[in-house]
């Protein structure tokens, strides 16, 4: 997320490094879900929608490795910038994050990875978010709003969660999207059922050259989408997740299988070649 002061590259740019920064706020937004705001130095790079950061609590020895979290929001201010992540407590690392006090110190590496690409001609952006998958999509939606008004696509967002309690980030989505359609597994809010069912119903609306789907969510959701889209041609970009060590493309730890030209497969790195992939490129069962 930043640069080291001491040395400079031959081009005059300082070398990059993980940046120590302060937790400005670490707010519980639902049972097990938190939004953390981090204060970054002015010299930090501006993240693009779909990119992520590797986050580590500073000075702790465990967990050892950073944890990848998508950029949920980013804003430049007077003296620096604010980066937000929206995260769910899933295990040791995120549990530790959830306990970080305001004013606590973290290390941020990034922004890393590639972005969602919405080409200028796109008229309809369809977002499909499962659970905490709302994070990168909300950032994407706010970005689309930021573009020139005449070029703004229409944004429809499908949001799924286990139950009403686990619906997070709706406020921002509603501010950025033309339409937000909600469903919950238990019917406690919105449509009763899976987000993919809701999506399926609307399919005739979606399947167009002017549309693009961007999705992020649990792999069961993404798999189901892959089946749905088999007989359609609408473009679909998804944000993938895998365990990561380096986040930079060096360790080859975050491999996912994609189709290779010859009908076979090859592995791609989620951190460097992704995390955004063409849904149709992925191989779900090997």
């Amino acid at each position: 997320m930043g640069k080291s002061g001491s040395e400079r590259m031959p081009c005059g740019e300082p070398y990059r490094s993980a940046v120590s920064c302060r937790v400005m706020e670490n707010r519980r937004v639902a049972e097990g879900y938190f939004i953390m705001s981090l204060g970054l130095p002015a010299a930090c790079d501006t993240p693009l929608p779909g990119q992520f950061v590797m986050l580590r609590a500073k000075g702790v020895q465990a967990p050892l490795l950073g944890r990848p979290l998508s950029v949920y929001a980013f804003k430049r201010g007077e003296k620096g910038a604010t980066l937000e992540v929206l995260y769910k407590v899933a295990g040791t690392g995120t549990l530790l994050f959830s306990g970080l006090p305001d004013g606590g110190d973290v290390e941020v590496l990034g922004p890393l990875g590639g972005r969602f690409e919405i080409s200028p001609g796109v008229k309809n952006v369809i977002l499909v978010a499962g659970g905490v998958g709302v994070a990168p999509l909300s950032f994407l939606a706010s970005h689309c709003r930021g573009d020139r008004a005449d070029a703004r696509p229409r944004i429809t967002c499908y949001v799924g969660a286990g139950s009403a309690d686990a619906l997070v980030g709706l406020d921002r989505l509603e501010a950025s999207c033309s339409d937000v359609r909600i469903c919950t597994d238990d019917g406690s809010c919105g449509h009763h059922g899976l987000v993919t069912d809701l999506l399926e119903k609307d399919f005739n609306l979606l399947d167009s050259r002017d549309s693009v789907i961007c999705a992020c969510g649990p792999s069961a959701m993404l798999k189901r989408m892959a089946e749905l889209l088999e007989k359609h041609t609408v473009a679909c970009q998804i944000s993938m997740e895998e365990r990561m060590a380096c986040g930079l493309g060096a360790c080859l730890g975050c491999a996912v299988a994609v189709k290779a030209g010859d009908g076979g497969f090859r592995y791609r790195r989620v951190c460097k070649d992704g995390p955004i992939f063409d849904l149709r490129e992925l191989i779900w069962e090997r």
Partner: protein
């Protein structure tokens, strides 16, 4: 070729690794620094002692199915499965980038057969900009029923001889810790002509998801690296350094300058940084700075005056 922009490389850090002169003893461990590109924005590669690239085989290899990594207490397991672009693509696509720097490039190689080792070595020997080979003998030899070359002193020696016979480059043999007596293997490869030995590679481990009752790694087992293994690695380096005359390169859980110093004091002529680069992409640079600061603080005029200076134990 770029020049060093900050000049923090002090002459007191130079070391000789079996004929390969390095400006300092800090290298990157194979498989943890990619082919250099990924970390070039984070570190001035001109400052490094050497870069050791991801293991190369004759043909490209896809590697193992995911999940490939899992964090454990102060460590991580990996079962990358030696995914790599293959030696020819390395030379064509990766080496030109590295040649830009004033940086010795050490190619880490492996094969499934003795012949494959030899062929990979021959190809690299002809490549411009490769300064030494590091022979990974920790991978299972499929022809011999799953016993790693590196676990048997005779087979380890055979690989060493094959590779030595095929090249004029200095040959470092990288030892596996998954053996009863690593010093025996070290002596064997030394006798077979190795110019240096490096150790340790990862220790085989595993981890289980108890809710689903499946291994966390698709491959079931993986190699353990990181701070957890440092005491084991240090012990092995110390054992080997007392038994061989060739330089010993210490690897395993080195996270900071203090850890690096432990290996040097135990007898390592140089060290490699692995998992630390994942935790801190500037780890190699930070460790280099820390070593220089230690020498200055302790008024040690040359790192050679530090290497192998452990005293004070009373072995029972």
């Amino acid at each position: 070729m770029r020049t060093n922009p900050v000049g923090t490389v002090t002459p007191r850090l130079g070391v000789d690794i079996g004929g390969l002169i390095l400006k300092n003893p800090v290298m990157t461990a194979s498989g943890t620094f990619g082919y250099g590109e990924e970390y070039a924005a984070y570190n001035d590669l001109n400052r490094l002692g050497a870069i050791i690239v991801k293991g190369l085989s004759l043909e490209s290899r896809p590697g193992n199915p995911p999940p490939r990594i899992m964090e454990t207490a102060s460590g991580m397991l990996n079962a990358i499965g030696l995914e790599n672009v293959g030696v020819r693509d390395f030379i064509r696509e990766k080496l030109p980038f590295l040649r830009q720097f004033d940086l010795p490039v050490i190619a880490n190689i492996f094969g499934e057969t003795l012949d494959e080792y030899q062929k990979v070595a021959e190809i690299l020997n002809r490549a411009k900009g490769v300064h030494a080979l590091e022979v990974n003998i920790s991978c299972p030899n499929v022809k011999k029923g799953g016993i790693a070359f590196g676990a048997d002193p005779d087979m380890a020696a055979e690989v060493t001889r094959k590779v030595k016979g095929a090249v004029d480059l200095p040959v470092i043999v990288k030892l596996t810790p998954n053996v009863t007596d690593v010093a025996v293997i070290a002596e064997s490869v030394e006798a077979a002509g190795a110019n240096a030995v490096s150790l340790i590679n990862t220790i085989t481990g595993m981890s289980i998801d108890v809710e689903r009752r499946v291994p966390h790694l698709k491959n079931v087992t993986g190699g353990l690296s990181g701070p957890a293994i440092k005491p084991i690695a240090l012990r092995m380096v110390w054992q080997v350094a007392r038994r061989v005359k060739v330089p010993v390169i210490g690897i395993g859980g080195i996270m900071n300058a203090n850890d690096a110093l432990e290996f040097l004091i135990a007898g390592a002529r140089a060290i490699q940084i692995g998992t630390a680069s994942f935790v801190n992409p500037r780890a190699v640079s930070d460790i280099l700075d820390g070593l220089a600061a230690y020498l200055a603080r302790h008024d040690i005029s040359h790192i050679n005056n530090l290497i192998g200076t452990l005293t004070g134990g009373e072995e029972c």
